[in-house]
């Protein structure tokens, strides 16, 4: 699939993040209005909409709230990578003329729980029969399940998890919107209260109310709009095991590997061409797995890569430059915030701006490794 002809022309997060007096829908529409204002368009210009979360009808709610009459909608719900998948799907519909301007909107009252309940799998679902009876309580007990085996397999110890936190905390110190901004040492990370051994609190993400939205259209139309277009070079998505406990290899995500490989093949660039990366980090081991599985470093080398400072300020591959989900924001489905930072870095307007970024990669997990998506973005159109 060629994706040369599509660009992100508008992008914004909610005015506030953290504890916000808005429902999930309110957060999605706040971000949408700001993203449309960012590119000088109005709801009347939008004819396609993508959004997913607690309701399968979320695109209709967002459209109704903003007065959009959509002729294309996508409510694909694959957890935290959903918005990346929406972007990938939107490219196809823009290129085939099914929609001209697509709004991808996300909002979640992850901290305050305004606007909807958390829904757990029922007792007859696979998770209900084979995971929940053993006291799993969401990401911190399921995403984390293979981490000890990962460390052992790669010859690492818990310092490898702490190193990720330390590097990202330094980025967060440059981001005035980040929740956790105080510098932290490896020892302080390791000595913090345990959430789920081997993970301490700083190794687990913050919980926020937040939202974000992007506006996508053809590269041709992007030329007439005010903001520098961010071109989509390539995308990939993949399904993974139905349950974290049934992954073929708990130390490597097959979904990460396939999504990453598909995105690079689509983009026509190599991992070595990536100058900045946002790697979904609900927990500190996910960026290590993503570095290896997406192909940015060879298998087994992620721990050393981070320990040597390559992902930190001044490093060869700045990663999670907002501070990431660990320090900046995580409302439950984090992919939108990762995309937003890749876009800001390519526009040259990030709080912790890296000089000269022309290719940025965003990679996100969905659910408990059940899904993954990778997007390669650039300041330049695909040749």
């Amino acid at each position: 699939m060629s994706t040369s002809g599509v660009a992100i022309v508008g992008a914004a997060e909610t005015a506030e993040i953290g504890t916000v007096a808005l429902s999930a829908l309110g957060l999605a529409t706040d971000a949408s209005r700001r993203a449309l204002a960012d590119c000088g368009l109005t709801p009347a210009d939008v004819d396609g909409i993508a959004s997913s979360g607690l309701s399968p009808y979320l695109p209709s709610f967002v459209a109704h709230s903003l007065g959009i009459d959509a002729r294309w909608a996508d409510a694909t719900m694959v957890g935290g990578c959903s918005n990346l998948v929406h972007l990938r799907h939107a490219i196809a519909v823009i290129e085939t003329g099914q929609a001209e301007v697509v709004l991808i909107a996300h909002g979640e009252s992850g901290r305050s729980g305004l606007g909807g309940p958390l829904v757990l799998p029922g007792p007859g679902a696979w998770q209900g029969q084979f995971e929940l009876p053993y006291g799993t309580v969401g990401p911190m007990t399921l995403l984390t399940l293979g981490a000890l085996r990962f460390l052992r397999d790669r010859g690492l110890d818990r310092d490898a998890l702490a190193n990720v936190v330390v590097a990202q905390r330094d980025w967060a110190a440059r981001n005035p919107r980040a929740l956790r901004r105080d510098p932290i040492s490896v020892d302080e990370v390791l000595d913090s209260p345990v959430v789920a051994y081997p993970f301490t609190r700083p190794m687990c993400c913050v919980t926020t109310d937040a939202g974000g939205a992007i506006v996508v259209t053809s590269a041709e139309r992007a030329h007439d709009l005010p903001r520098p277009p961010v071109h989509v070079l390539g995308t990939g998505e993949a399904t993974g095991a139905a349950m974290a406990s049934q992954m073929p290899d708990l130390t490597s995500s097959d979904a990460f590997r396939r999504a990453g490989a598909a995105a690079f093949a689509d983009a026509g660039v190599a991992p070595a061409d990536v100058q900045h990366a946002m790697l979904y980090d609900a927990t500190a081991h996910l960026p290590l797995m993503a570095l290896e599985d997406v192909g940015l470093v060879p298998r087994g080398e992620s721990g050393a890569f981070v320990a040597e400072g390559h992902t930190a300020i001044g490093g060869s591959l700045p990663v999670n430059t907002t501070g990431g989900g660990l320090n900046y924001t995580h409302s439950g489905m984090y992919g939108m915030y990762a995309l937003q930072e890749s876009i800001r870095q390519l526009r040259g307007e990030a709080a912790a701006q890296v000089e000269g970024v022309t290719i940025s990669l965003t990679h996100a997990i969905g659910g408990m490794f059940q899904s993954a998506a990778t997007v390669v973005l650039s300041t330049e159109e695909r040749p």
């Binding site: 084979f130 929940l132 006291g135 051994y197």
Partner: protein, 134 residues
């Protein structure tokens, strides 16, 4: 009364597994075409899609593949407790809990030999594991 542990509700495809645990057996399925044992239960092979499958009793022996020790209480659990990924001798892995061992990393080296035992909650019996002499 404290909230209780979430309990499984069998479906037609998984009934044999839960009948097995109630009878003190850990049951897997095996594909006759490719000879691979598999889990979770379903009436055809997840690798070759053949419906020529049989239910087999697992030895109940396995080892500790990976785990977390969660420090947050969950319904029916008193923190800290171990959520363990157990690799069965036959190959498949499954999630479970550990009995008869402290929730302490010093006591829980990876590859620790384990054996199945069973805990009943009303009408449902779930497989759990405890250390065994290797």
């Amino acid at each position: 009364m404290a909230p209780s542990r979430p309990l499984p509700r069998p479906t037609p495809e998984t009934q044999h597994f839960w009948d097995g645990t109630a009878a003190g057996e850990l049951r897997l399925q095996r594909c006759r075409a490719c000879d691979d044992p598999y889990f979770p239960p379903q009436p055809f092979c997840p690798r070759c899609a053949s419906g020529d499958v049989e239910v087999v009793r697992a030895s109940g022996r396995g080892s500790l593949y990976s785990y977390v020790i969660t420090h947050r209480a969950a319904p029916g659990f008193e923190a800290p407790y171990v959520i363990a990924e157990v690799e069965l001798e036959e190959g498949p892995r499954l999630l479970s809990n550990l009995l008869d061992v402290e929730p302490d990393p010093e006591q829980l080296p990876l590859d620790l030999p384990l054996e199945v035992t069973f805990e009943s909650f009303g009408e449902v019996t779930v497989p759990v594991f405890r250390p065994r002499a290797s």
